[in-house]
């Protein structure tokens, strides 16, 4: 079952006492705990893991880690799983992606036959004629070739994820030797440390090292474990660094959630990701059996897998030498070691499913099934880029190095230079000390500027100079490409020839080349490809690498699931204290902004008629409510409303409209004076927050000498409108301490009294529905009692609840406009019919100059009452009013309903001023395309324009 598993290795991660069963393309396999998907399959002799994106070439293990471009597989309903790093779990159903009908026999390989015609950007140059074929056929075929796994969009893990906040003094990205050393020294200096490692265990390259490396690793691990100041996160990736050191960490293998996003505000960030091995470009370099030195070292030492039988090794560094030693110890025959430093080269590899022959630069051909390259490194500077650094290329060491970092970001380890393990550890330690010193100073500063926190202990820490001894830069040949062309981007099937062609076509900046060829745009986002792409461009342009630059690395460092980013579902709705009652009593809900409300309980027409004939109750709690206190409230009202407020008497209520500084109608409502220095303001439901913030802005910014205190009470008071000719009869049975008679409590008044035994209820007499009606604002804790008492006490009067839909019918019959529905983002006060309300002779009011300008204009649309001539037709809201048979737009229907009271359709509409006169006939185009006529009414109100019903 495991023909390629070799005897036990000192650093192996697998637990040979365990068996983990899984399937690969439907066939049963086993591995051990500690295996990756790829190592278990490789141990079982599997050599082909995927097909390439464009040409569907067979692909095998290449880097045997997270970045391996050939090891994306489907696991159950999860696409694009990195088999090179994902640990094996019992029962995994693993399958190959991007193959049809199967991995072994894939029809997509037909693309290889025409590959010479599919050069970079080929699709831009063809498929143009005939045009209809592009839309109907070519495009569909292209979309069929999209790579990647499959989405199972009927299953979801949305909401199963979690998030966490953290505030470490020092956050270290990378748990290799330098990162671990940095963590230890930072913790010793008194910093709280978070040490984050992408792999499931600490150690970095020490893990696959020789025995002395393993000993160092064991010591480091136990020191880290013993340090109380260090929190270790393994199988976790620092995926982004954002402004002010806001750091994102994607924590996998969390016990309670599939993944967890940790958001950390770090004092200092230490970037210690090590180095990523760079592929070598030559003909056939993607043939299964061509591997990076690191891949064979990991396979043999971590998972005890023999990666091949007969190996040719091309090396330009000690990494290749180490690989040779590992291969020999694993029983692999070393056919030849080619030293690139002395000019040896590989020009081509033959073989389809596996390497067969290796053609060398000196003309010889060797038989082998494994080609190992160790030709250089890429510094994964992503996090440094995100911190604003533009790393600089050093031709001597043949890689990029950090350049200029902000104070709160430091780098250590291989990304900054080369050295022995001891040198790496020393650099890491010094970096940790520096990071801690800077972080502790930042922590001190934050505590100092935080008004309510306790004062920091001790004096401000001194600035510590950066006197670290930099790591050396060991000379390394610039080993990018052989004399042949090969793949630069394995994920995208982009060869060096494609890049050369793009450069010759004018795409000769690295960004343009990337966009034209798609190089580095695949899942690893250039971790393996960027530097090789730059080298090919430098070659094409015959300039130095340093003059080419690189594309910018953006977050995330490695892909992160949408579920993890979303976290738990926090999409709350607001519910009034009566919402449970509504739902228990058959309410059909409506989501209105933040609120869920009853749209209706039964037939809304009947509910509306009950209000006209008897008495109805509606829960209007979402109405914004602001409690205003202080001697200067009248000044504030005068400022924010377009009308006058100075003379409002105690016990009286007034309607007010608001406009913005641009003169556009923004909100409206009634405000009542409860006592000398005490007012209650109501706003629209959606405007409650904005009005509050606006009042605060005035009171804090421009009128800070005014004495007004604003308290939002929207949820604290449950609002119940009791409407209908019998509403007074009902309330008289329940209200105490208030004379409800018409003379004592006239229209547009407010009183405070007891309702159903509940004290301090605010009662105002107003009428959105056009009927005699009272609005009760009841302390929410008692709201259900009041509501149920009203219904029970009024049963003989016909008291029944009504919903939002009935209210809409009623208010439209009465012709009350709704801000945002009957007005829009350009509607000024004259449009809404506020001419009688607006007072232009004030010293100041919000938007005053625009108000004045608006009333000088004659071209603004006008809101009018409108009735279709055919009373049975209800034009849909938003239908357009047009000029006769033409398509010229002259207005639109903003509200429409069938009126149960009038037995006909009724509307509000915004029309061109030339159509605004009462009696004007207009044409309305319905959604179905037919046109009807309608007549402009004298009033907005279709029912009782004089208001006799509400003044009884």
């Amino acid at each position: 079952m495991s023909p390629r598993r070799i005897p036990s290795r000192p650093g192996e991660l697998i637990d040979r006492s365990t068996t983990v069963s899984f399937t690969w393309n439907g066939r049963a396999f086993t591995g051990h705990q500690g295996d990756t998907i790829a190592s278990a399959l490789a141990a079982a002799g599997v050599e082909i893991f995927s097909r390439s994106m464009k040409y569907h070439r067979r692909r095998g293990i290449f880097s045997a880690n997270h970045w391996d471009p050939n090891l994306s597989v489907q696991v159950g309903d999860e696409p694009n799983v990195r088999a090179g790093s994902r640990r094996l779990l019992e029962g995994m159903q693993v399958s190959a992606q991007n193959v049809w009908p199967s991995l072994r026999f894939d029809l997509g390989t037909a693309n290889q036959l025409v590959g010479r015609f599919l050069s970079a950007g080929f699709y831009y140059k063809t498929f143009m004629r005939p045009q209809f074929l592009w839309h109907s056929l070519y495009q569909r075929i292209l979309r069929k070739f999209a790579p990647g796994g499959r989405i199972h969009w009927n299953t979801s893990t949305h909401g199963a994820y979690d998030k966490r906040y953290a505030h470490p003094d020092v956050l270290i990205a990378g748990g290799g030797p330098a990162g671990m050393a940095a963590a230890l020294s930072a913790a010793e200096a008194g910093a709280t440390v978070m040490l984050v490692e992408q792999e499931p265990e600490l150690g970095g390259h020490l893990r696959w090292g020789a025995n002395d490396d393993l000993e160092v690793l064991a010591d480091l691990r136990s020191a880290v474990e013993a340090s109380p100041g260090i929190e270790v996160l393994v199988d976790s990736t620092v995926s982004g660094r954002y402004d002010h050191n806001w750091i994102a960490i994607n924590q996998r293998s969390h016990p309670l959630a599939p993944e967890r996003l940790i958001k950390a505000r770090a004092g200092s960030l230490v970037v210690a990701p090590g180095l990523i091995e760079r592929p070598y470009v030559f003909a056939g370099n993607d043939t299964p059996g061509v591997m990076l030195a690191g891949a064979v070292r990991r396979l043999t030492n971590l998972w005890a897998v023999r990666p091949g039988d007969r190996a040719v090794v091309l090396t330009a560094s000690s990494e290749g030498d180490s690989a040779v030693a590992d291969l020999e110890s694993a029983g692999v025959e070393i056919v030849e070691v080619l030293d690139a430093r002395s000019g040896a080269d590989i020009v081509k590899v033959d073989g389809r499913g596996r390497v067969r022959k290796v053609h060398l630069g000196d003309g010889r051909t060797l038989a082998a099934d494994l080609v190992v390259t160790a030709t250089g490194w890429t510094a994964p500077t992503s996090l440094l880029n995100m911190a604003g650094d533009r790393p600089v290329y050093d031709p001597v060491a043949a890689r990029y190095f950090p350049h200029a970092l902000p104070d709160n970001v430091l780098a250590t380890g291989g990304i900054t230079g080369d050295g022995s393990i001891a040198e790496l550890l020393a650099h890491g330690r010094e970096t940790g000390e520096l990071a801690a010193a800077r972080a502790l100073r930042i922590r001190h500063d934050v505590l100092t500027t935080t008004a309510r926190s306790t004062s920091p202990k001790g004096p401000r820490p001194e600035t510590v100079p950066d006197d670290r001894i930099p790591l050396r830069r060991v000379p390394h040949p610039e080993c990018y490409r052989s004399s042949t062309h090969g793949l630069v981007d394995f994920s995208e099937d982009i060869s060096s020839k494609d890049l050369m062609q793009a450069a010759s076509e004018g795409f000769d900046s690295i960004e343009l080349m990337k966009r034209y060829t798609t190089v580095t745009m695949g899942p690893s986002q250039g971790k393996l490809e960027t530097v090789n792409a730059a080298s090919v461009l430098a070659e094409a342009r015959q300039v130095d690498m340093a003059d080419v630059g690189t594309t910018v690395w953006r977050p995330p460092f490695s892909p992160i699931s949408l579920g993890a980013l979303a976290g738990r579902i926090f999409e709350p709705v607001r519910r009034s204290a009566l919402q449970d009652w509504h739902e228990a009593n058959g309410a059909v809900n409506l989501l209105a902004g933040q609120w869920v409300r009853p749209d209706r309980y039964g037939d809304p027409m009947a509910e509306a008629l009950n209000v006209r004939n008897n008495v109805g109750l509606i829960d209007v709690t979402p109405l914004g409510k602001l409690d205003l206190r202080g001697p200067d409230v009248p000044k504030l009202l005068e400022l924010v409303y377009v009308n006058r407020w100075q003379k409002l008497k105690v016990g009286r209520v007034r309607y007010g409209a608001m406009v913005g500084e641009d003169g556009v109608v923004s909100d409206d409502g009634v405000t009542g004076r409860l006592a000398k220095d005490h007012y209650l303001m109501t706003t629209t439901s959606s405007g409650a927050g904005a009005v509050w913030e606006m009042l605060e802005d005035w009171l804090q910014t421009y009128r800070s000498d005014w004495e007004v205190h604003v308290t939002p009470v929207t949820g604290g008071l449950t609002s119940i409108n009791v409407a209908g000719p019998r509403s007074r009869d009902l309330l008289e049975r329940l209200v105490g301490g208030v004379d409800l008679s018409a003379d004592a409590f006239p229209y547009f008044s407010v009183r405070t009294g007891t309702v159903a035994g509940v004290a301090d209820c605010i009662i105002w007499r107003i009428g959105f529905t056009g009927e005699l009606s009272y609005e009760l604002h009841v302390p929410s804790g008692h709201a259900l009692h009041v509501w149920e008492s009203l219904l029970a006490t009024g049963s003989d009067l016909g008291a029944a609840p009504f919903g939002v839909e009935a209210q809409r019918i009623l208010r439209l019959e009465k012709g009350h406009y709704i801000v945002g529905q009957d007005t829009d983002g350009l509607s000024k006060a004259p449009t809404a019919g506020l001419a009688g309300l607006v007072k232009l002779d004030k010293e100041d009011t919000v938007g005053l100059p625009e108000l004045r300008a608006a009333f000088d204009r004659t071209d603004l649309p006008v809101l009018v009452g409108l009735q279709p001539d055919d009373p049975t037709v209800v034009p849909e809201e938003a239908c357009q009013i047009v000029a006769g048979d033409s398509n010229e737009i002259l207005g639109r229907v903003t509200s429409s309903r069938m009126s149960p009271t009038l037995g006909r359709s009724i509307c509000l509409a915004q029309v061109d001023p030339k159509l605004a006169a009462a009696g004007t006939s207009v044409t309305v185009k319905l959604v179905d395309g037919s046109r009807i006529t309608a007549t402009v009414q004298e009033h907005h109100a279709h029912l009782d324009p004089e208001g006799e019903r509400q003044r009884v």
């Binding site: 954002y242 402004d243 002010h244 806001w246 958001k263 505000r265 934050v446 500027t449 935080t450 008004a451 309510r452 926190s453 500084e661 641009d662 913030e693 605060e696 802005d697 804090q700 910014t701 421009y702 800070s704 004030k842 010293e843 100041d844 009011t845 938007g847 005053l848 100059p849 625009e850 300008a853």
Partner: protein
């Protein structure tokens, strides 16, 4: 997520606050000409550099205050309660 120094609450995530934009002095509404008023309404310096702007501590103490922020770097300095 930048940190915004609220004078009461200390440094807070910007998502706890609302940015209301650069400070523009409001003309006297009674006497301002329409063109002065519309400059106040619409024209902004919009510099790529230091700007004085207003924040509202929406999820905290509900104070409006001004700070200086560099729009090229998001560096923040100074604070003043308005």
């Amino acid at each position: 997520m930048i940190l915004v120094p609220c004078p009461n609450c200390g440094p807070r995530n910007s998502s706890d606050l609302r940015n209301t934009g650069e400070v523009v002095p409001r003309p006297d509404a009674a006497t301002a000409s329409l063109s002065e008023w519309r400059s106040y309404l619409y024209l902004r310096d919009n510099p790529a550099g230091w700007v004085t702007e207003t924040w509202y501590c929406r999820s905290g103490c509900r104070t409006y205050f001004t700070i200086e922020r560099n729009t090229a770097t998001n560096e923040v300095r100074g604070l003043e309660r308005t």
